[in-house]
C-alpha cells in the first residue's frame, strides 16, 4: 500500500541522513544510499526431521558517491556512526582512482513515498503447523516423495532509499516463503531432485492443497523409473511454468538488461518496436499485482517501479534498463528492471496443447549451461516426460535439448489457458517447435 513518506525505525532514517551529510561534507557532487533493517525467522526441516529454528537480525547499508562523475561504492552491515563515516571515506577514496563516466548519476527528485505490505512479526506456531501439515499431506497423498530439505521462512525488512537530490522512498515488507528440495524414492531407485518455491501472506494456508504443488509432487512421483531415448530428432517442447520462468530469466539476461545492452551483444539491441517473438507471446514485469505478494515497489536505482510490458503480441515494447544502462545506451530508463513476471495466458487448453504434439517433451526442469550471447543454449531435460502422438508416454533421463532462446520465442506455437502462480510469477505452459532433442 502506498502512503506518505515515513520510516518506522528511526535508526534507519538517522543512518541515511548521516551518510548524505557525510557525502556532502567530504566534497562529493552527489550520492545515494540504501539502508535496511531485516529479520529472518526460519524453521528448517532436513533428513526426516524438523531440525532447526533460526533467527537472523541484519542491518545493511550501501553508499554510492560521485565526484566529477567518478564513482565509489561501499557496502557494510552496521549502523554504527563510526563505521558509516569510514564507509563514506572509503567510497571517496575509491572514487578518486576511478575513471569518469558521463552516464553515472542518481535518481532525480520525485514524489517521496512509502509502501508497506505484510506482517512484521512471524507466527512461529503457525509456521510449525504449516510445515507439519505439508509433511503429513505429502505422506498421505504422495507417499514416495522424500524431502531433502524444507525451509519455512518469514522475512521482515524495512528499507530506505535516499539521495542528495532529496529523494526519500521506503518500503516495509513482511513475507512468508517456503523453499524445498525433494525427490521420489522406491527402494534403491530415486527420481531426479525437484523443488518448488512459493511466497505468500498467510501461513495458515495448506501448501499441499495448491494445484501447482500437487502437480509437481505427482509428476516427480511418476519419475522414479525413467527411460532413455535413442538418437536425435527435431521436436516440440511443452514447457512447464516453473521451467518457463528459468528461460525468461535467460531472455532478460541475454537480450534485455544492462549487461547485454551496454556491451552491445544483445541480438535485440536494434529491435525495439519490432516483432521478436510469436504473436502469442505477452510478457510483463510487474511491481504490483493482486495475485503476487512477492512484488517489490522500489527499483534498485531509486525509483518507484511500475508495471511494464516487455513483449506484447510478440513485439518488443521495452528493454529492462536501469538509469545507468539507459544513459549508457542512449535509450529510455525502464519503468521496471525487476524480475517479477506475468506471461499472458493463451487460448489453448493444456490438454489440447499436449495432444497437438507428434513427438516432443513435456519439460519439467532444464539443467543447462548459461546461454551464449547469441542465445544458443543446450542442457538436460530433467523431471520430464516424452510426448508421442499427442500422449504423455514415459518419464525420461539422459535426454538433452539444444536450441536458441530467440528462435524458441519465435517458434512458440501455443500458450495455455491455464497458469500457475508462485507468488513471484504467474506463468502458463508454452509449446515451442523445432528444438533439437537427443538421447543416447
Amino acid at each position: 500500500m502506498k502512503k506518505a513518506f515515513e520510516v518506522k525505525n528511526q535508526s534507519i532514517l538517522d543512518s541515511a541522513e548521516l551518510i548524505l551529510n557525510e557525502i556532502k561534507a567530504i566534497g562529493a557532487d552527489e550520492g545515494e544510499t540504501w539502508v535496511s533493517r531485516n529479520v529472518l525467522t526460519e524453521l528448517y526441516y532436513e533428513l526426516g526431521k524438523i531440525s532447526m529454528v533460526r533467527t537472523v537480525f541484519s542491518d545493511k547499508v550501501s553508499v554510492k558517491l560521485l565526484k566529477d562523475k567518478r564513482k565509489g561504492t561501499v557496502n557494510l552491515n552496521s549502523f554504527d556512526p563510526a563505521d558509516i563515516k569510514q564507509a563514506v571515506a572509503d567510497a571517496w577514496q575509491a572514487a578518486q582512482s576511478a575513471a569518469p563516466d558521463e552516464a553515472e548519476g542518481i535518481a532525480e527528485l520525485q514524489e517521496n513515498a512509502s509502501f508497506n505490505s505484510g506482517e512484521e512479526k512471524p507466527d512461529l506456531d503457525l509456521m510449525y503447523q504449516q510445515l507439519t501439515d505439508l509433511l503429513a499431506d505429502t505422506k498421505q497423498d504422495f507417499p514416495k516423495i522424500s524431502f531433502d530439505s524444507i525451509g519455512v521462512e518469514h522475512t521482515y525488512s524495512e528499507r530506505l532509499y535516499a539521495n542528495t537530490n532529496g529523494v526519500r522512498l521506503s518500503e516495509e515488507q513482511g513475507l512468508y516463503q517456503l523453499i524445498n528440495m525433494f525427490m521420489a524414492k522406491d527402494g534403491d531407485q530415486t527420481s531426479s531432485f525437484n523443488y518448488f518455491g512459493t511466497v505468500y501472506d498467510d501461513p495458515s494456508e495448506r501448501v499441499a492443497e495448491a494445484g501447482r504443488v500437487r502437480r509437481i509432487l505427482d509428476e516427480t512421483q511418476r519419475q522414479i523409473v525413467t527411460e532413455q531415448i535413442e538418437g536425435s530428432f527435431t521436436g516440440d517442447l511443452v514447457i512447464t511454468p516453473g521451467c518457463l520462468e528459468n528461460f525468461l530469466w535467460y531472455v532478460g539476461d541475454t537480450y534485455l538488461q544492462d549487461g547485454a545492452m551496454i556491451s552491445g551483444t544483445s541480438p535485440w539491441k536494434e529491435k525495439l518496436g519490432e516483432q521478436v517473438a510469436s504473436t502469442l507471446v505477452n510478457v510483463e514485469l510487474v511491481a504490483e499485482h493482486p495475485e503476487l505478494p512477492g512484488t517489490s515497489k522500489l527499483s534498485g536505482d531509486g525509483y518507484v517501479a511500475e508495471n511494464m510490458s516487455l513483449i506484447e503480441r510478440g513485439v518488443l515494447k521495452n528493454f529492462s534498463l536501469s538509469r545507468y544502462g539507459a544513459a549508457k545506451t542512449g535509450l529510455k530508463r525502464s519503468a521496471n528492471s525487476g524480475s517479477t513476471m506475468v506471461f499472458g495466458n493463451g487460448q489453448t487448453s493444456l490438454e489440447d496443447m499436449i495432444s497437438g504434439v507428434e513427438k516432443g517433451i513435456l519439460l519439467g526442469r532444464f539443467s543447462g549451461g548459461q546461454p551464449s550471447p547469441s542465445g544458443d543454449l543446450s542442457g538436460v531435460a530433467k523431471n520430464s516426460f516424452l510426448i508421442e502422438n499427442g500422449k504423455v508416454t514415459k518419464p525420461l533421463s539422459e535426454v538433452m535439448i539444444a536450441g536458441n532462446l530467440g528462435d524458441m520465442l519465435r517458434d512458440t506455437v501455443a500458450v495455455s489457458q491455464e497458469r500457475e502462480n508462485s507468488g513471484y510469477w504467474l506463468l502458463p505452459w508454452i509449446r515451442v517447435s523445432k528444438v533439437t532433442i537427443s538421447g543416447k
Binding site: 533467527t55 576511478a98 538418437g231 556491451s263 543446450s378
Partner: protein
Amino acid sequence: MLQDHLHDYIKRFGFTGYTELRAQENRNRAVAMLNGSLVSNSSGVSRGVSARVVKGGAYGFASATGYGDDIEAIAQIVRSASQNATFLDRHVQRGQPDFAPVQPFTRTDGLEHDVPVEQSYLLSVVDELDSYIAERFPKLLSRRVFARVLNMEKLLYTSDGVVSHSFVPRSNIYTIMTTQDQDGQPVELYKVLGGYGNFPEKFKNAEEFFEKLEKQYELLMQKAEGVYAKPGIQTVILDSDLAGILAHEAVGHTVEADFVQTGSVGGPMFGKQVASEKISLVDIAHTAFGELAPVPVFVDDEGTPAQDQMLIENGILTGYMHNKESARKFGHEPNGNARAYEFSDEPLIRMRNTCILPGTDKLEEMIASVEDGYFMTDMNNGQADSTGEFMFGVPMGYEIKNGKLGRAIKDTTVSGVAFEVLKTADMVSDTVTWTNSGMCGKKQMIPVGMGGPAIKVKINVGGRA
C-alpha cells in the same frame, strides 16, 4: 583483523550445553570494466556473530550484525539461539544425547595473509588489462574485465574447548572477450586468473598476464570459426577443469552424507565399483601434492579438525563427507566438512577441494588415441542430481579426428550419469591443475576448489543435429 571479544564473553558467562559461537567477517572488493567503462567500483564488509545451540538433538541458531566489545550483545545472541533450540526441543522431543566431546585445541591459520588492499590497486590492474585488450584487439564486439576479492575471517569457540581463528583470502580477475562469427552472431570466451591469496600477492604486475590475454584472443578467433558439436554419445577427453567439476558436481554432491540420507545414488553404491579402477577421488582438507589447496580448511565450523576424505579409491566408493550429526549416524569419523558462508549461516555439509588423483598417461597420447571425438578444455557451469546425472556447460573445445586436434567447437553442454561415465575412463593424465574461483550453491554459497587430470571418457554431448 577480528579482535577476540568472544573470549571475554566466555570468561564471564561460560557455555551451557553444546554451543558453537562464531564471529566472522567477509570482506569483498569488486571492480568491473565493460568496454572501458567502470561499471562497478565497490567494497564491502559483512561482519557479525552467530551462536548455535543443540538441545536433545534440536538446533537453535541466532545471529546479528555487528561485533565488538559489547558482551551483552553477544549474550543476547546466545540466549536467542538457546530459546530457539528450546522451542524446537519442546515440539519434537527427540531426546538425543550431546555429541561426543573432542579434545580441546587452539590454532590459527592464514592470519599472515590479512594485509590491507587498496581499491585503487585493483582499479589500476583491471584498467591495465582492459587497456591492453582494447589496444591489441580493437575488433572485439565487447570486452569485460572484472576483479573480485573475497577474504573470509572466522573466530570460532565451541563448548568443547576448540578455538580456531582463520583467514582465507581469494582474489580473481575474469576477462571476457566477445567477437562475431561469420553469421554476425556474438561468440564469447572467458578466462579466470588468480586464486588463493590476497590481491597484491596474486597480481603483482598486470604485464605478467598479457601472454594469457593473447592466448585467450587466439582461442576466441578459433571458436568464432568453430562448428557445432555432433549430438549423442561421443569419446571425449575432458581436460582438468572439466574433470574437476565432474568430481565436484557429479560425484561429490551424491556422497555428501545429507544427500545420501535423502536418497542419493551414493547410498546404495557404498563399497561398490562406481568408476574404472584408474579413478581415485578425494576431498582434500588443506594440503595437496605438497602445496596448500585452493580453499584450505584446517578446522570446520563445528570445531572438527579437518582431514582429507577419500571418496573413491581405485574405482570403489569408500567414503562420505560428514558433519558431526551424520558421522554419528553412520558410525564414521567427521573430517571437517561442516562449513558456513556468512556469519548468519549455519554449518552445512560442504566440499572443500575435490580432486581426481593423477594417472600415468600423457595428454598427447590420450589425444592420439581418439579416432573421432572431442577434446573439451573449458567449463562455465555445472549442475548435478541425486541420481548422479549431471551437466556442464562447455565454452571451448576441439574436434579430434584420427588422433589429431581439428576445428574448434561452439558452446555446448555435456551430460551423463557420473558413475557410468567414470566407468568408461580408460586414460587418466599425469598432471593435476586446480581451479579456484568456483562458488558452490546449496542453501548457502561457499568457495570451493576443484582439481583433476585430463580423463578420457564416453559422454553425451548436447550438439546440433
